[in-house]
Amino acid sequence: MTATADVRQETLGVQTATAVRTPRYRLRRKLATLALLAPALLGLLIFFVYPLIASVYYSFTRYDLVSPPEWIGLRNYEYLFTKDPKVVIAAINTFWFVSIMVPVKIIFALLIAGLLARARAASGFWRTLFYLPALVPPVASVVAFVFLFNPGTGPVNQVLRFFGIQGPLWFNDPAWSKPSLLLLAIWVMGDIMIIFLAALLDVPREQYEAASLDGANGVQQLRYVTFPNITPVLLFALVTGIIAALQYFTEAAVASGVASGKAVVGEGTGNNLGYPGNSLLTYTEWLYVRGFSQYQLGYASALAVLLFVVSAVILVLLLRRFKAFTPEGAA
């Protein structure tokens, strides 16, 4: 900080800026800008623009990486839309995570942030306690949850049994596997909870006082003071949540692998994905299975193109409404 203060003091002494605005200076600035941006530009070209185009090309081919791609026209898309036995299941599963897991997680994070803000427990022990699970590496938290919720011997059902409740089969039952991951998602809501907490504490106190003087009750204050103030943050959590849910992979894949308890001695990971009963098979998992377990890279590219189109539509709808993602906006 002191360095910048010095710079500022020095510049106060400079009276004229005309001397530096020569063509030579402008060229140098342009070159400098280009130099600053060059790696990122190149990165965008190689790891974003080119793969997008290549994906579209591969999606019209049969390609197994052993032999060169073979052009088969629209066959992959025909199979995708009329024959693929699992793509609908996978899409519905992903939709479940987008439409149920994202809002539930946000609501819980908001409730806990609200509780912490009210209880003046916004920092220190309580905040750390509720944030801590979010720090746990996803693989570790999934492995832990599958153990905790193991229907036969896991602590959760042991405790439930103590209260005379026969617990469900959790990760081993197709009807309960997604709700089990929902519980996990709630457990790790700490990161958005922190954002909400900061936003709640940022709401100017005077606004509440003014509202209170105007006779607003608790619900009205919530509606007319709290919500307008935290809307941008809520929207942000929603957008990033939806994006993350669209690519939901790690938690579902690890849960299936660990819960199935099946040895992958000879076959490989792909066979366990979706366990139990395809209930955890997400769209991106299905893409992985077709692409990297069955090595149908052409068909998997068609799945990727569809994923791109769907994500792009969602992005266009959401981005327009969201200031931080427009060039002008800062969050």
């Binding site: 190149l42 049969r62 032999s67 066959r75 024959k83 089969l169 001695v265 000879g266 076959e267 990297f292």
Partner: protein
């Protein structure tokens, strides 16, 4: 200024590297060296050998590899254990350094032969006068696809019934069951419950997808067929499958799916010492001959017997047969040392001493006649059962297909779900499976 130049260098270097990447991007899989026209007189160099075994079984493989190195002092073998099919496929496709690959099953043969991931061995077999008649017909059939021999058999796996003699005799049984009906009656008598009604031990765990309970392994019990002669699915038209499905699902429903699933999810992992058959939690179990070695190692005190798996009640004539599959080895498309790989492969698949040593160590069924009849082969009574099954005319395998094990997977996926709620019309469901399988075969190999 200097700093800025340094900054400019980075992108330039990256650009060079990146364009090299893109240019080479579409020609993957690696291009290896070819076989020589005559048998090389001396072998030297390094050969990379990928296999799926781990722990104790990997040690057995290593000991035979050591023998090979001793016999060929100028050859060094780098062994990559624990490589399942998915990883092997990945490594071969991306041109990683794989010379010889060993897979646990024949499932990949159709796919690897048709795509060329494993190379055609026809020429070198002829060149070196390898006698293919030393293998049985079933074994020969599952190591080739569409007339292309791209793999060789390294021991076979045969499936049958394991039963806990102590538990059976305590319940008054002296003989293992011969039909599924008998199996169920005996299993009911052997099943015990906890005070709260949950299962304590099971006579037989009918859960499809658990341990070795797979359609492929149970299919021979009703002589069920997988594929028609033209490579399309035969599941929906075969008379055997409904018998098996109806028996299995009815049995699961009788126990109660939730109760069964709760019990199953608390069982130990198949290849650990907690294996439910080895702990006595399950009295009778479907398993492969290799289990005898695991029991020797992990539960030597277990008093058990083995028998052919019971047949469906309407197919008692098939008793004595079972499911056979095998470990298979192939030489990768991108192999840089195909001659070394071929020499190692010949050693592992046709050298009687090597095959017997592998068989004794892994307790897998040897695949050559010489090894099967070798006096060095250690055969326990329990293991003898599997040698007998392997020779039975009713023993069948799963046919190779360009979708690999995809057709089995589709069926098994469906069955895993169907057993939880067997409502709906079975024949419609099986016709759907046929269509699914045929569609996927067409996608990967259609014109």
């Amino acid at each position: 200024m200097n700093k800025r130049i340094a900054r400019l260098h980075l992108p330039v270097m990256a650009l060079t590297a990146a364009s090299a990447l893109i240019l080479s991007g579409c020609t993957s899989g690696g291009s290896g060296s070819d076989f020589a026209t005559t048998t090389p007189t001396e072998l030297s160099g390094t050969v990379s050998f990928w296999h799926f075994f781990s722990d104790r079984e990997a040690d057995v493989i290593q000991s035979v590899v050591d023998d090979f190195e001793k016999a060929n002092p100028k050859v060094k073998v780098t062994v990559h254990p624990g490589q399942d099919d998915e990883k092997l496929r990945k490594a071969i496709s991306t041109g990683s350094n794989v010379d010889l690959g060993l897979s646990y099953s024949t499932d990949i043969v159709g796919n690897f032969c048709s795509t060329g991931a494993f190379r055609d061995l026809g020429d070198v077999i002829k060149r070196d006068n390898v006698d293919m008649n030393q293998f049985t017909d079933t074994v020969k059939s599952y190591t080739e696809f569409d007339g292309t021999r791209c793999s060789m058999p390294v021991l076979a796996d045969v499936y049958g019934l394991y039963y806990n003699k102590d538990l059976l005799s305590a319940a008054g049984f002296t003989e293992p069951p011969k039909t599924l009906g008998e199996l169920e009656t005996m299993a009911d008598a052997l099943t015990t419950y906890n005070a709260d009604g949950s299962i304590k031990t099971l006579g037989f765990n009918p859960t499809m997808g658990w341990y070795e309970n797979a359609p492929a392994h149970i299919g021979p019990a009703a002589g069920a067929e997988w594929l028609n002669a033209d490579g399309t699915s035969a599941i929906g038209t075969d008379a055997g499958w409904p018998d098996l499905i109806n028996w299995q699902t009815a049995y699961v429903q009788k126990i109660g799916w939730d109760k069964l699933n709760t019990f199953t999810s608390g069982l130990g992992q198949e290849f650990s010492a907690d294996n439910a058959f080895q702990t006595g939690q399950v009295a009778m179990n479907m398993d492969g001959e290799y289990r005898t070695a695991f029991i020797d190692d992990q539960a030597p005190k277990l008093n058990y017997g083995t028998a052919p798996f019971p047949t469906a009640d309407a197919h008692t004539d098939l008793y004595g047969g079972g499911y056979i599959t095998g470990n298979i080895a192939g030489i990768s498309k991108g192999s840089k040392n195909p001659e070394l790989a071929w020499a190692l492969m010949k050693y592992l698949t046709t050298d009687t001493a090597a095959v017997v040593k592998l068989s004794n160590g892994l307790k897998n069924v040897p695949t050559t006649h010489a090894a099967l009849t070798s006096s060095d082969l250690e055969v326990s009574p329990q293991f003898q059962t599997f040698l007998d099954i392997s020779e039975s005319e009713h023993t069948t395998t799963t046919p190779p297909s360009p979708v690999g094990a995809g057709y089995q997977q589709s069926f098994q996926d469906w069955w895993n779900i169907y057993q939880t709620d067997p409502s709906g019309d079975l024949s419609t469901a099986l016709t759907d499976i046929d269509k699914q399988i045929n569609d996927s075969i067409e996608l990967v190999s259609g014109p």
